[in-house]
């Protein structure tokens, strides 16, 4: 049998190196992903089938699907599921539309463009605690800016206790979340719009296409991958809404503004029903996963390649 020549061996080694290098570089991220995401997800799903106790070595009898069945009968979960769904349905499209609109406007060379871009993005990096306090003041019953503004148009002073009622409380949560989230989709779309080939835009305009047609037939298909990315990430983020609810209404009054993650947290850390909390979180993860896959597939369909 012929021994491989020196040059051939080097080429083979180089090919192997080229093949393995990406995997080697992926190892740290993959390891962290496995340890901090995959394993906790697995454990969360796993404990959902047990009457699980946190003390190491404690007896954890199996309970089958009891926790999953209980979810569908639990009024707190029902209310929280409705609130979470409404949050997704209302905040995600608005963030996309407003983020895209802002990006479209600020792609053009306008005076103060940099400042405006910065102002739109600032809420994204502002702490939720700070934001929640500011909005709690804005929507306060006494001396709140929102009531003062509405009083200008009413025949009598408005004293709405926004955060003390379900739907007004929900409205505040949606407004805050949209305001804080627009900056992120704006930045994503800004980068995507910069990547739309100028030649395509100019060609379509030279061909007499109106601005609406240019957007429908050139811009939107060009930014479809970014649209899919933004949509999926916003959906995942919105499904996991909790911190703003916790800070603004605490899930109240009487659990009426509570969301699924809040119920899971309360079940785990207030009531010590870790398995039940695990079941709620598992179903949430599954629903988000399925929706994300469906969305990505739908958005890929007809994509310009």
């Amino acid at each position: 049998m012929d021994k491989p020549s020196g040059a051939g061996f080097r080429r083979a080694r180089q090919r192997a190196g080229n093949l393995l290098t990406p995997y080697a570089l992926l190892i740290p991220a993959a390891a962290m992903f496995a340890v901090f995401i995959i394993y906790p997800l697995y454990r969360q799903f796993n404990i959902s089938f047990y009457d699980w106790h946190i003390f190491p070595g404690a007896s954890n009898p199996g309970v089958g699907l009891t926790n999953f069945r209980a979810m569908f009968k639990d009024p707190a979960v029902r209310t929280a599921a409705v609130n979470t769904l409404l949050f997704v349905v209302i905040t995600v499209p608005i963030q996309i539309v407003l983020g895209l609109a802002a990006a479209a406007i600020l792609t053009d060379r306008l005076p103060g463009r940099g400042l405006l871009r910065g102002l739109i993005f600032i809420p994204v990096v502002t702490s939720w605690v700070v934001v929640a306090y500011i909005f709690a003041y804005i929507f306060a019953e006494q001396g709140g800016l929102a009531n003062a503004f509405l009083s200008l148009f009413a025949s009598h002073p408005v004293h709405t206790d926004w955060l003390a009622h379900r739907w007004t409380g929900e409205a505040v949560i949606w407004i805050v979340s949209i305001w804080k989230g627009i900056g992120w989709s704006f930045i994503m779309f800004l980068a995507a719009l910069d990547g739309v080939p100028r030649t395509l835009l100019e060609a379509s305009r030279v061909d007499g296409a109106r601005e609406g047609s240019v957007w429908r037939h050139v811009v939107l298909p060009s930014i479809r991958p970014t649209m899919a990315f933004v949509l999926v990430l916003l959906l995942i983020g919105a499904s996991q809404v909790w911190i703003q609810v916790f800070l603004l209404t605490g899930g109240g009054p009487y659990g009426s503004t509570q969301v699924l993650l809040g119920v899971a947290y309360q079940q785990a850390f207030s009531f010590f029903n870790f398995s039940y909390a695990g079941a709620i979180a598992s179903v949430m993860a599954l629903v988000v996963l399925v929706f994300s896959i469906v969305q990505i597939r739908l958005l890929r369909r007809g994509q310009v390649r």
Binding site: H53, I54, A140, E141, F272
Partner: protein, 442 residues
Amino acid sequence: MQPAKSRLRTRIKPAGRFAVAAAVVLAGSVAGITGIAASSASAKTAKPITLQFWSTYDLKDKEESTFVNVVIKKFEQENPGIKVDASVYLYADLLPKFLAASAAGDPPDLMRSDIQWVPQLASEGVIKNVGSVPGFSAIEAATLPGPLATTRVATGEAPGYYAFPDDTNTQALFWNKALFAAAGISGPPKTLSQMYADAATLTNASKQQYGLGVDGTDMWNMAPYIWSAGGGFTNAKYNSATGVMNSSKTVGAVTSLVNLLKAGDIGSDFEGGASAVSGEEGFPKGEYAMYIDGPWAVDTYKADNPMPAYGIAPFPKGPGGSVSTVGGEDIVVASGGHHITAAEKFAEFLDSPFAQEAMAAQGDMSTETSDAAAEVKTTPYLKVFAQQLETAKVRAVSAGYSQMDSDWSTEMGAILAGKVTVSAGLNTAAAQANGALRGITP
């Protein structure tokens, strides 16, 4: 033939031996972290040990500094081999942090726990049954019945005492002397019906003045109104709410409060919400003419300028008597703690007259019968609270209490909003409470 051990050694290569040695060292380190090695080492060499103690002591007044500089200092003087490292956490953070640490196998040795957490922690197995600690029977004999009851978990697989009583408190009626005088009422109400009549008289909507403040729909805040009216929440074994939570007397007690709210005699604190004014906030401003609160409110009002002229009276009597709620904290010893014997020793010390009196001077009422007179002498305003404690009741000592309390509060919200009748709401609450008390997932 060589012994098996030698044969094994000959088969391990140098690199392998290094790995085995490293594993042994690593295992030793892990054992040290988990306390297995530490406890045996401390026994043999009497190396000083440090107990980790977690609490929610108040850092704004002298409560925490007294604990560290007086109580711990004395304990360390008496026990030279033991140091105590005390850490303070926010109330909302303490329980999740303790749970996470217990799950990780590295909890603090002791925690000053809310009394309502004790049965939950016991059901999870993260705290020790301390009933067999040699000094516990003496503590049991010396402790007031109410605070002692908070440490005894009767439900679950291993009933017993799961905590050392630490401090206690209860609520009494705070009344604004100026507002009462202006309304022509000579003194605090002695009966529940008088209280409700006074609340109507004291209400002045134009001044945003309410006769009564009720600080929420949770059991801590509502229990005195329910119990004093003869109603209740659960049976004595804490395993059923049927016939108690939805009894005619409980329905009557809740109906009285609902009627007062409808009449506008109860302030915004009852229904809650972000803009609700708490009793402690509204009372000094004259927004509430009376409300119930614990002894800590006195310190709060000392800081107020000008201080409202107010009195503290026992909760008004109803058909069930003058019954308030037992509050306070217990000391729990972590099952996974590193120094359990030393931790139990420190917990016992916290029940000593020295520690109890030192902390009573900071408003933490003693749990011991013998200290009541002494603490009233040094802190006269505690007299009403000490008197109230004699008839105060404990809420359900059950792992399902938090769930039950949350469900109760939600149903009360529906009742106050007029979505369900009092009777229907309490029937639902009782059914949910039965599940919670029996440890059934919703």
